[in-house]
Structures are given as C-alpha cells and as structure tokens.
Amino acid sequence: MFYLRLARGYRVPDLGRWLLTTLAAAVVAAFLLRSLGRAMSDPLGGEDALERLLWCLPPLAAVAWFAAVTARAVPAQQPERITGLRAAGAGSGGVRTLIAGEVALACALGSVLTLLAFLVLRNDIAGPTLAPDLGMGVPLPAAAPVTLLALVPLTAGIAAACAVPLDETLPGGRTRAHGPTGFGAWRIALPVGLSVIGLALELIALRPGAAVDDRPIHLPAGLGTTSTAAFGGWAASALGLALLTGPLLSWTGRLLALGRPTPLRLLAGRGLTAQARRLGPPLAVLTLALAMVLTTIRYWIGTPDSADALPAIEACLVLGCAAAAVAVRLTEVRTDRRGVTDALLRLGTSPRLLFGAVALRTLAVGTTLLVTGGATAALAAAGLR
C-alpha cells in the first residue's frame, strides 16, 4: 500500500500509461465476458465456445506485451524514483512488485469497469441484438466472470514482473545497462531458416500447376479458407521475418556507416546498430500486426460481405498496444541515451546534426520495415487468393 503513495508524484506520461493499460484491459475483459455470455446463451455450444475464447488470446497477448514493454521502460524513464526506492531499502524484488502491481491494478480496474457494465447491461437494458452476447436470462455463475477477469491482471502483471530489468542494471545499481549489441549465430540462422522454409512451402502450395485441394483451413475474420501448406508457410515466414527484424536493423545500421562515413552517417548508422536489439522486437510486432490488418482490409474491400466488426475492434486494440509499445520503447531509448546526447552536445555537435542523424535512422528503419512488412503482407495476400 505504501508503494501506491508514489502515484501521487505521477505526471502525464505515467497517467497516460495507466489509462492506456486500463482501457486495453477493459476491452479484453469485454471480449472475455462476451464469450462467456455467448457460451451461456448457446445450448451446449461445443467448439464455437472454445473458439470464441481462443479469440480473446490475441488481445490478451497484446495487453501483456504492452505491459511488459512499459514495465521494462519504467526504471530507465524514472531513474530518480527507482534510485530513491533502492536507497530507502527496497530490493529489486520490491521494485519488481511495485511495477508489476501497478500494471495489475490498472488492468483490474479496467476489468472491473467492464464487469460492472456487463452486469448493468444484463438487467434488461440491452436490446435483443446484444442479448445473446450477454447471456441474458441465464443465471450467471459467480465464479465464471471472476475467473475470466482475473486472467487479465494476472497475465499482464506476470508479464510486467518478468520484464523488469535485473537487479544490477537498475538505476542505483552498480553496472550500467549496456547489454550486448550483436546477434548470435543462431539468432540469425533460425529466422532465416524459418523464412526460407515458409516461403518454399507457400510457393509449392501456390505453384500454377498445383492441385486445387479442398482448402481445409477456415480462417477467422471472414477471410474464407486456405490450404494447410499455404497457411503453414505463411505463418513460418511471417515469424521468421519478424524475428529477422532486429538483425536486419543492425545490418541496415552497418550499411549506413559503411566506407568513410561523415559524422551524420556514422552517428546514425552506429546508433541504429547499437539499438537494434532493443528496437527490433516492438517494431517487429507492430509491423506484423500492421501487415496482417492491411491484408485483411484489402481482402474485405475486394470481397463483399466479408467485413466483420469484432475482428476490427480486436485489430484496433492489438495495433494500439503495438504502437504504444513502440512509443514507450522509443522514449526509453531516448532517456537512456540522454548522457550520450549531452556528451555529443558538449563536444560541440550541433543539434541539427543530431536531429539529422535521428531522421536518417528513422528513414533507414522505415525502409527496412517496409521490406519485411511488405513481404509478410504479400505472402498473406497470396495465400488468401
């Protein structure tokens, strides 16, 4: 409880983080309760109920991802607070509990709000269109909503707790957080292998002379059906490309600083290489989500009566979480590098040069992501045809 008093010192970014977490958790809770309501209304709905529940996993994962990225960023963004806590005797366990507890609390708040809305709506307020989604008229077993709603704060809290940096790299600790900047051999071989295998699978499945099989895989979100090989191939290559984003960013940085670089290219390129490990994952997640969403929208436009509202809401949530995670990671990197920026300014580097380096880096990152995202989207579109 004492830790919660720290909330009194919160400023707009912290409150925004809380608000976003709460909002996202509320939406996920709504999905969970909807699947519960549907399960109650349907007379012994077997597979459908499970499928609906499984559909709640992507948004849940998105919230957990956002929680993990923000939890990791907290020590870098508020070093004074963490240093103060540690000086006052809080160990790394305490700091971890504090950060994870904050996230879990925000999620619990969102879940409870949704539960309240759900209960209010069940009181014959909702019209007949919503009635089956709320399980209206069926008595609500108390354990079910509680279990489902505990899922969101638990998942997000655990993800956050796991993401808090280790003891000695926390501010006030002995070492500075300078992780390794390179990528191991397996870290490059695995995604490359996955992409190649996936691409080959998909090409084999889609070759002109291929027998048109019965396309047994039913895709969600009104995307129709596809063949097993095409789907598996796409999934493997998408995962490979996402995992490859970090190494690709690192190589892009090397490319930028190739030859006899000017200070602009040197700073932009080396900076990108150094940050590739940290920027890679959130950017890869955002790119993957964006590619999938754009492909779906394109399919919806091309095929009449295929659009669906719920997947659209889910996509918005996932995209929002992914984009927020990227923003959080960017600010984390920025605050972490404040010392370097100060040192550069002290050397007499003009802010214009630093700005130019950031712009050049952004351009390079954008180009790389356009390639990976474009490839993912193209493969998905080919598989849908």
Partner: protein, 251 residues
C-alpha cells in the same frame, strides 16, 4: 561597456555569477587565464569548480558577469555561437569519460575532428596517434563497453587533445583513475599542453595535483580564496561588489 581584457590572457572572466535552480554556485568570480599556461583550480566538492569550468568553456551561460575569449565576448554569444566556440576552440575532459558507446575508441577520438570538418584520413590518423600516446593504441578498434574505466578515461583525454584546441578544460579528469594512472594521464595532459602551446584549465579536488600546474587558484563556496589572475585593480571591484550583492539578496 567594459575595459578590454589584458592582452596576454586567452580567457578572461569578470564577476561571473551562476546559480543552479536557486543554489548559488559561483558568487562573483574574476579570473584570467594566460596563453599557454596550466592553471589548476582546486577546491572541495561542491565549491563550484565544475560550474566555473562550464562557464569558462561556454557550456553554461553565466547569470551575471563577463567571459572573454581571445578578446571576443563569450557571455553575449547565443547557443549556436557557443556550440561553434566549443567545437572549434575548446576541448573538454570530464570526470566521467562520456564516450559514445556505439563508436569504437578511434571513432570516438576522431569524432570532434570529423565534426569540425576534417577529412576522414586526417581525423583517423590523428586519433590513432593520440591513442598510441596515451597507451590505449591496442584497443583502438574496441567499443568502450569492453574497456575498463581507466582506458575509457584515456580515450576521453585523447578525444579532447586530438583536435589540438587552443584551450583544454579538464574537470577532475583523474577521478576514476588510480594514483599511478592519474599521474600518467596528468603528465600527458600537461606535456601535450606545453609542447603544443595549449592552455590547460585543470579542476581538481586533490591539492597534490597542483604540482602539475604553473599556477593554482582555490575555490571555496563559489568564491576565489587565493588571488587568481592579475586582474586589473579597477575591474576587480565590480566582481566583489556583485558577489556581496548576491549574498545580500540571499539574506
């Protein structure tokens, strides 16, 4: 507006007052630094050494008073002007190395030269030379994260000296070093300053290190205690006056 500074002073300050968020750091300091000399500024922690060096090196704008470099005013310069001055005329070594972590040692040292518009080849040749001279030539192609602190500090010294700036500021450069290494770094700093006719302003909390300097001044609580520069009699008065004015307003 003011009397012209003495001709032999490369850097000259009169009555500078500076506070950090209301905490006074400098309470009216007048000091002159002669060309080619090694000036030590001593004083305990919190006495205002770093702030004085920051003000003299155009890193911090002064609240009150004047700073002149080579008979040109520094205190009236805008941000861009101060940046240019720092880049082209001043070198700086802090108590922390503050190297750019993603650049190798030689790139770190070559960076100020590259920023000043030197050619690639010239910049890297100079960088390699200085790294050799400071006994860190063998780690020239490594990044700072793999190096120990004393090596990083030597690289920082090389970075400050490589462009051969007319004035080098060293703010407690030996803080992270052992006695042996600190002596060596200071010897290199001072001998480089003497052989290349550079002016070196050295702040240190260790009174023993004064032996490396030509002249020393002592700072206590933002005031000079030892007579500093041969500041002309007429100009010394406003400095002390502004200092007493500050202390008067604080009471």
């Amino acid at each position: 507006m003011s009397a012209a500074p003495p001709d032999n002073d490369v850097l000259w300050a009169r009555g500078i007052v500076k506070s950090h968020h209301g905490t006074p750091a400098l309470r009216g300091i007048s000091i002159g630094v002669r060309e080619g000399e090694v000036l030590a500024v001593t004083g305990p922690r919190g006495s205002g050494k770093s702030t004085l060096l920051g003000c003299l090196s155009a890193l911090l704008p002064v609240d009150k008073g004047e700073v002149w470099f080579n008979s040109a005013p520094v205190h009236t310069l805008g941000r861009a002007g101060r940046e240019r001055l720092r880049r082209d005329r001043f070198g700086f070594v802090g108590s922390e190395p503050h190297l750019v972590p993603e650049l190798t040692a030689r790139e770190n040292v070559a960076l100020p030269l590259l920023l000043a518009g030197a050619g690639n080849k010239a910049a890297y040749t100079a960088a390699d030379e200085w790294l050799e001279r400071l006994d860190v030539g063998e780690v020239a192609r490594q990044r700072p994260e793999r190096l120990v602190r004393s090596q990083c500090q030597r690289i920082a010294v090389a970075r400050a000296l490589a462009p051969l700036p007319p004035v080098v500021f060293a703010d407690d450069p030996t803080a992270p070093l052992h006695r042996e290494a600190s002596d060596q770094v200071l010897r290199i700093l001072t001998s480089a300053a003497r052989s290349h006719q550079l002016t070196l302003v050295l702040a240190t909390h260790d009174p023993e290190l004064v032996r490396f300097a030509d002249r020393a001044v002592a700072l206590v609580d933002g005031r000079l205690t030892a007579p500093a520069a041969p500041v002309p009699r007429g100009t010394a008065a406003p400095g002390t006056a502004s200092a007493s004015a500050v202390s008067a307003t604080r009471r």
